[in-house]
C-alpha cells in the first residue's frame, strides 16, 4: 500500500546539562494510507517524542538532529514555520492523553473547534464553521451537540472532553491523526467507546491513525501494525497478529508476559529484571542487553540491526542477534 507518511532515521536529541539524551535515536516508521499504526513502549522510551517530532513541537533543549519526515513526498523537516503551521491541525492533527489540559478552560468547546476550522480555511464563514462543528460533534457521538457547543471544558466529563478533542482533530479532515495515549485517563467502559469511535472514524474517513500507547491491550484491539520502542530505538516491528503470535524480541516477550491478563488464571507474573537505562549513559551494544535473559557477550559489544524475520507476514523485523540474517531493513 502507498505510504502516507514516511519517517526515516529520525533523531531527536535533548541537549541537557547532564549530557545529550538521545530520546529518539534513528527511528524509521512508515504509515500507509488509511491504517492504524501503533507505537508501544514504557515511559521514557521516546514514543511521545517521536509524535512531537512529526508535528515539530519539540521544545528546547530538544532538537531534531537528523532524518526525514516525508508527507506526500515532501520533507516536513525542510518546511518553514508558516508551512508547518498549515500542516498542523489541517493535514496532521493530534490528540493528547489528558483532554482537560489540552483544551482551553476559558473558551467554550464550540469556539475552540470552530477556531480550528477558521484558522485553516479563511474562506469559511462563521455560521458555516459553526454548523461544521455541530456536525463533527454529532459524528463523534456527543449528545445534544447544539447545547454542548456552548459548554466549557470543565462542564464535560472526561469521555466527552476526549470526544471534543477527537472532533477538533477530525474537523479539517486530516490525512493523519496522531493519538498520544488517548484513553489512558479514561475509565474502561469509556475507553472502549473511544477506541470504537476512532476505529469507525478511521474507516469512514480513510484517515490514518498513529496510536501511541503503553497498553498492549489497546494495541491488540485496534492496530494494524505495531512498532515496539525501547530507549529511543525500534526493537521490533510487525503486523499486530504476527507480533502477538510470533514474538521475537525478548523485550516484547517480557512486556507481554508481565501484564496480568483478564482471561488468564492466576499465576506468578513474569518480571523483566532491572530498569530502563539512563539515556545519557546507554550501555554499549544492544540497549536491552543488561536486562535480557538471552544476552551473549557479543550483545554487550555490538549493536544489532533490524533483521527480517521469516514469519507468516512479510514485514516483520527485529533488532536482535538471535534473528540475525543477511536481510536488514533499509536505512539501518
Amino acid at each position: 500500500m502507498e505510504d502516507l507518511l514516511n519517517i526515516s532515521n529520525l533523531k531527536t536529541h535533548f541537549f541537557t546539562k547532564k549530557g545529550v539524551v538521545p530520546a529518539v535515536d534513528g527511528v524509521s516508521i512508515s504509515i500507509p494510507k488509511s491504517s492504524i499504526i501503533g507505537i508501544v513502549g514504557e515511559s521514557g522510551c521516546g514514543k511521545s517524542m517521536t509524535a512531537m517530532s512529526i508535528m515539530q513541537l519539540i521544545q528546547k533543549p530538544g532538537k531534531i538532529v537528523g532524518g526525514k519526515i516525508q508527507l506526500d513526498n515532501e520533507n516536513l523537516l525542510s518546511y518553514s514555520k508558516d508551512q508547518m503551521r498549515n500542516i498542523r491541525g489541517n493535514k496532521i492533527s493530534m490528540i493528547f492523553q489528558e483532554p482537560m489540559t489540552a483544551l482551553n478552560p476559558v473558551y467554550t468547546v464550540g469556539r475552540q473547534v470552530t477556531e480550528a476550522i477558521t484558522i485553516h480555511h479563511r474562506e469559511i464563514k462563521k455560521e458555516e464553521a459553526r454548523q461544521k462543528t455541530i456536525d463533527i460533534f454529532r459524528a463523534v457521538g456527543i449528545p445534544e451537540p447544539e447545547k454542548r457547543f456552548h459548554s466549557y471544558p470543565h462542564q464535560l466529563s472526561g469521555g466527552l472532553r476526549q470526544r471534543v478533542m477527537i472532533g477538533m482533530a477530525m474537523v479539517c479532515n486530516p490525512e493523519l491523526m496522531i493519538a498520544d495515549e488517548p484513553t489512558t485517563a479514561l475509565d474502561v467502559t469509556i475507553e472502549a467507546q473511544i477506541l470504537m469511535l476512532m476505529k469507525n472514524l478511521q474507516k469512514e474517513r480513510n484517515t490514518s491513525i498513529l496510536l501511541i500507547t503503553h497498553n498492549l491491550g489497546v494495541v491488540a484491539e485496534v492496530c494494524d501494525y505495531v512498532y515496539v520502542m525501547y530507549a529511543g530505538k525500534i526493537m521490533e516491528q510487525a503486523d499486530t497478529f504476527e507480533l502477538f503470535k510470533n514474538t521475537c524480541h525478548q523485550y516484547t516477550d517480557g512486556l507481554m508476559k508481565s501484564i496480568p491478563k483478564i482471561t488468564d488464571e492466576k499465576k506468578r507474573l513474569y518480571n523483566i529484571k532491572g530498569m530502563v537505562p539512563n539515556l545519557t549513559k546507554l550501555p554499549k551494544g544492544c540497549r536491552f542487553c543488561p536486562r535480557c535473559e538471552k544476552a551473549t557477550p557479543r550483545c554487550f559489544e555490538e549493536e544489532p540491526l533490524l533483521y527480517k524475520v521469516k514469519g507468516e507476514k512479510d514485514d516483520h523485523y527485529v533488532r536482535c542477534f538471535l534473528h540475525e540474517n543477511s536481510e536488514v531493513k533499509e536505512n539501518e
Binding site: 491491550g217 497478529f241 512486556l255 491478563k261 482471561t263 507474573l269
Partner: protein, 327 residues
C-alpha cells in the same frame, strides 16, 4: 494465593457516606449532597485479598478510607475484629491503627520529598514507640527495606533519587513497619509501567504469604484484580452490584454491569478481537443526582420499568451476592 480462613477480619455494616457540596448557585444556601457510598455492606475474611472494582466516582476509594476510619461515615459502622471502630476514642483508635495501614496510588505524592528513606519508614515506628533504641529502629528499617527489595545502603537517599516503582516499594515498607493485619491498597500499581507493575504485584503477593496479610485492593484495572484477588466486589455509583469469588465473577458474571465491564477491557490478544463488540453506552450518572431505582438503569440495555422504580436489594444465592431485578 492464601488460604482464606473463615474468620471475618473487617466488616462494613450499611456504610453510607455523603459529602456536602454547595450547589452551583451564587448563594451558598442551596446545599447538594454527593452520595459517595450508599448502604454498603460486606465482610473481608482474614488472610484474603478482597478487591473493590469500579469506574471513577463509584465510591471505592471513599470506602477504603471509611474502613480504616480515615473518614467518618454518615451512617453505618465498621467492625474490625468484632469491634465497632467508629465508637472508639482517639487513643483507642490510635492503638488499633497499628493493625491497619494504607498504600496510595501516586508514589510521587504519598511520600514526603523532604524526608529520607530512613525517616519515612521509621516514622510509624517512632510514632507508635515500637522500638526502644535507635539501633533497633535502624535494624528494623533495614530489614524492611530488604523485604521490599530496596538495597539497605540507600537508607539515606531521598525520594527524588528513586524511580516510581522503587518509591512504591518505600510506601509498602512504611505500611509494613507496624506489622498490620489489614492493608488497604488504593490503586497501588496504576501509576506504574507494566514491567514495574508486575514486580510490585509479585511483591504484594509474596508479602501476603509471608506476613499473613489481608488486603483490601482497590483498582479500576480488572486484569490486575483478576490476578491478585480472592474475592471481588463490583461497585457502581456508590452501590454494590455484585460480590463473589474471583473465578465466579470473571467466568460467570451475573450483574449486567460486571459483564460489560469485563467485556470493555482491551485484551492483549488480537485474535480475540471482536468487530462489533457490544459496548456500554452513555456515561456514568452524577453521584449528586443518582437515578431512582437501580442506579445502573440509565446505562443498562436490559432495564425494565421495575428497574427505574424499585431499587434492587442485594440477593444472596450460592455464596454470591448481587443486586439486579433481572437475574
Amino acid at each position: 494465593m492464601s488460604n482464606p480462613k473463615n474468620k471475618v477480619l473487617v466488616e462494613s455494616v450499611n456504610l453510607v457516606k455523603e459529602f456536602q457540596i454547595s450547589g452551583g448557585g451564587f448563594l451558598p444556601n442551596n446545599k447538594n449532597v454527593v452520595h459517595a457510598t450508599s448502604n454498603v455492606s460486606f465482610q473481608i475474611m482474614e488472610g484474603e485479598t478482597f478487591a473493590l472494582v469500579g469506574e471513577s466516582g463509584c465510591g471505592k476509594s471513599t470506602l477504603g478510607r471509611l474502613l480504616i476510619r480515615l473518614l467518618e461515615p454518615t451512617s453505618g459502622h465498621v467492625e474490625f475484629e468484632g469491634v465497632n471502630i467508629n465508637d472508639l476514642k482517639s487513643n483507642e483508635m490510635r492503638e488499633l491503627r497499628k493493625k491497619m495501614q494504607i498504600i496510595f496510588q501516586d508514589p510521587y505524592a504519598s511520600i514526603n520529598p523532604r524526608m529520607n528513606v530512613y525517616n519515612i519508614i521509621a516514622e510509624p515506628l517512632t510514632t507508635h514507640k515500637i522500638c526502644a533504641t535507635k539501633e533497633e529502629t535502624m535494624e528494623k528499617v533495614k530489614g524492611l527495606m530488604e523485604k521490599v527489595g530496596i538495597r539497605p545502603e540507600f537508607i539515606n537517599r531521598y525520594p527524588h533519587q528513586f524511580s516510581g516503582g522503587q518509591r512504591q516499594r518505600i510506601g509498602i515498607a512504611r505500611a509494613l513497619a507496624l506489622q498490620p493485619k489489614l492493608i488497604v491498597c488504593d490503586e497501588p500499581v496504576s501509576a506504574l509501567d507494566v514491567s514495574i507493575q508486575s514486580q510490585i504485584l509479585n511483591l504484594l503477593h509474596d508479602l501476603q504469604d509471608e506476613f499473613k496479610l489481608t488486603y483490601l485492593f482497590i483498582s479500576h484495572d480488572l486484569s490486575v484484580v483478576r490476578y491478585i484477588s480472592d474475592r471481588v466486589c463490583v461497585m457502581f455509583l456508590g452501590k454494590v452490584c455484585e460480590i463473589g469469588n474471583t473465578e465466579q465473577i470473571f467466568t460467570n458474571p451475573l450483574h449486567p454491569y460486571t459483564k460489560f465491564l469485563i467485556d470493555a477491557v482491551p485484551k492483549p490478544d488480537p485474535f480475540l478481537r471482536k468487530e462489533n463488540k457490544e459496548l456500554l453506552q452513555g456515561e456514568i450518572p452524577s453521584p449528586v443526582n443518582p437515578p431512582t431505582g437501580c442506579r445502573f438503569n440509565t446505562r443498562c440495555p436490559y432495564a425494565k420499568d421495575v428497574c427505574r422504580e424499585k431499587e434492587p436489594l442485594l440477593k444472596n444465592i450460592d455464596g454470591r451476592q448481587f443486586a439486579c431485578h433481572m437475574v
